[in-house]
Symmetry: C2
Subunit: 321 residues, 2 copies
């Protein structure tokens, strides 16, 4: 490991801020930390003042790792700038969705498929927030029991849409979601494809298949926005190859990297408690025959975005995962 | 049909009030409408002033139909008073959960199994709110295609817990739910049984089996409270016997009694819009092979409670259902 790396964070929104916070909290070996955005300004991110630079090609001179925070529903800055950064010697870790399904781009959740980092070409994609916590919890079940089919329903927080989502919930901002989110549940995240699935639901299927190396995995996802600030929850049903027992499932999840098992009786994780925590929390496990049903919660800005991205960089420099 | 019936509503909470409103709105043939509760008082329910009487045996003299509003999580008044009311000639329709699984008590959702009313013994059970909207939407799919397995995740409103649930959401009342409900999602409704399922989830399985006359139906339910005032939503996955097509499924649901189909592209029902409406609203239908995934919403106090109960009485007197 070198003494320290020059890191650029591209984006000063909620994910950009969490990237700064996670690089500091996890003590990523930093020589220099730059924040880049559309326009130059002074900004306070995670309690630290930055002279934000303009995200343009030359801003990546000397950068070892460039984290692109990504944006929801539009092409991210990585589409314009990733190649420029790579050409200047940076490894790009993109939280946006533009490159995730590109066969030449590893899509990595380090607890699940860090081996995919071995043949990157300078660009690594961070997975969709809802996908990350699902595959972290599915991977041990797949490893131990084999899983052929998943039915998942999400309970997604507004901060997944960035600051505008938070404004929609807290201030009634009306141009963010198709319907009022305060006091409501909106079963539509992204556009609707020809098969009736939304882009969010399709990401959960296609990204999971890629990360888990299970191109045939059945994933029936329903992605729903609810009036929660931060923390995505998921109700997951997984069908295994063979009959399993509750104790086997609990053991597999307790031992799984990145998973925090919350017990199985009256206790369970909720987004209000998990917001701000880096792990993926699991509870309410039920097992019948060859089916496993459980509840999992993760901070969509941390494990669902910033934490996972920093873990990718850590894996690349040989630090902890 | 007689000229009019003497009706007693037992309970002056949210469901009691909706029972009064639905009896009026649906123009149930009333000769007299009494409201009974634990203590006598003057109360305004659905804009109408009542001299509320004490719910005691003699209060049921001359009553033709007694609607018990039911309570969540404790024995309802029907346990004490249903027999007294029946002995005095009343037909009791109980919204509580005490008698639902009693083999001698019909458990009825009129669109689905009104034939079960043929052999009642004076007592008819109204089903659980989450169960009603699920079976209304599953019944046409079962009729047309056969369904062997259901995976359902709920998004339940606080008014399902009565006025105290609304106070927990709106005023932060802390003794209603196991954790803060404002800005949160709580995957625990009722107590946890030995198999890990909560009472609410078990109701959804056992009541559905009884109403649908499918004692072997697989139902994997996860019941979750979210910060919504009124209107339960459900993400439902149903596996059919044979492969189905989207157009067949849409047609079956469009033709189904009690179902309001909201279209299948960008439009979909939400609880904020469905609150106050008597139907069961369906959207987001996706079909792959032999699986059907959809979203349904109903007012938990109306179709989930009061409307269904009044429909039962209508079926008994030969009025519309």
């Amino acid at each position: 490991m070198r003494e320290g790396y020059t890191v650029a964070v591209v984006g000063a929104g909620l994910v950009g801020e969490r990237l700064v916070a996670e690089l500091r909290r996890r003590e990523f070996p930093l020589k220099e930390l730059r924040v880049l955005a559309r326009s130059a300004r002074r900004a306070v991110l995670a309690g630290e003042t930055f002279e934000v630079g303009v995200a343009e090609p030359d801003a990546f001179e000397g950068v070892d790792f460039a984290f692109f925070a990504g944006t929801e529903g539009e092409k991210g800055a990585a589409v314009q700038l990733a190649r420029e950064a790579i050409d200047r010697g940076a490894i790009v870790i993109d939280n946006g969705s533009d490159f995730r399904l590109d066969p030449q781009v590893p899509l990595v959740v380090p607890e699940v498929n860090s081996e995919a980092l071995n043949d990157h070409r300078g660009l690594i994609a961070n997975a969709n927030c809802s996908t990350i916590q699902m595959v972290v919890t599915l991977a041990p079940l797949i490893r131990e029991f084999g899983v052929r089919k998943v039915v998942v329903s999400t309970y997604q927080a507004v901060s997944g849409s960035g600051r505008s989502g938070v404004e929609a919930l807290e201030d009634g901002r009306a141009d963010v979601y198709p319907k009022t989110i305060a006091g409501n549940a909106i079963p539509l995240i992204g556009g609707v494809g020809e098969d009736g699935y939304t882009t969010e639901e399709t990401k959960m299927r296609e990204e999971s298949r890629k990360i888990l190396s299970l191109p045939e995995l059945e994933v029936h996802a329903t992605a729903v926005r609810i009036p929660v600030h931060t923390g995505h929850s998921e109700s997951v049903y997984a069908e295994t190859e063979e009959r399993v027992s509750l104790s086997e499932v609990v053991e597999a999840l307790q031992d799984a990297p990145g998973v925090v098992f919350c017990g199985n009786a009256g206790d369970f994780p909720t987004p209000l408690e998990v917001a701000g925590e880096p792990g993926t929390y699991v509870g309410r496990i039920r097992v019948e025959g060859n089916s496993i049903t459980y509840w999992c919660v993760a901070d969509n800005l941390l494990k669902g975005a910033a934490t996972n991205a920093v873990q990718i960089a850590e894996a690349l420099v040989g630090a902890r995962v």
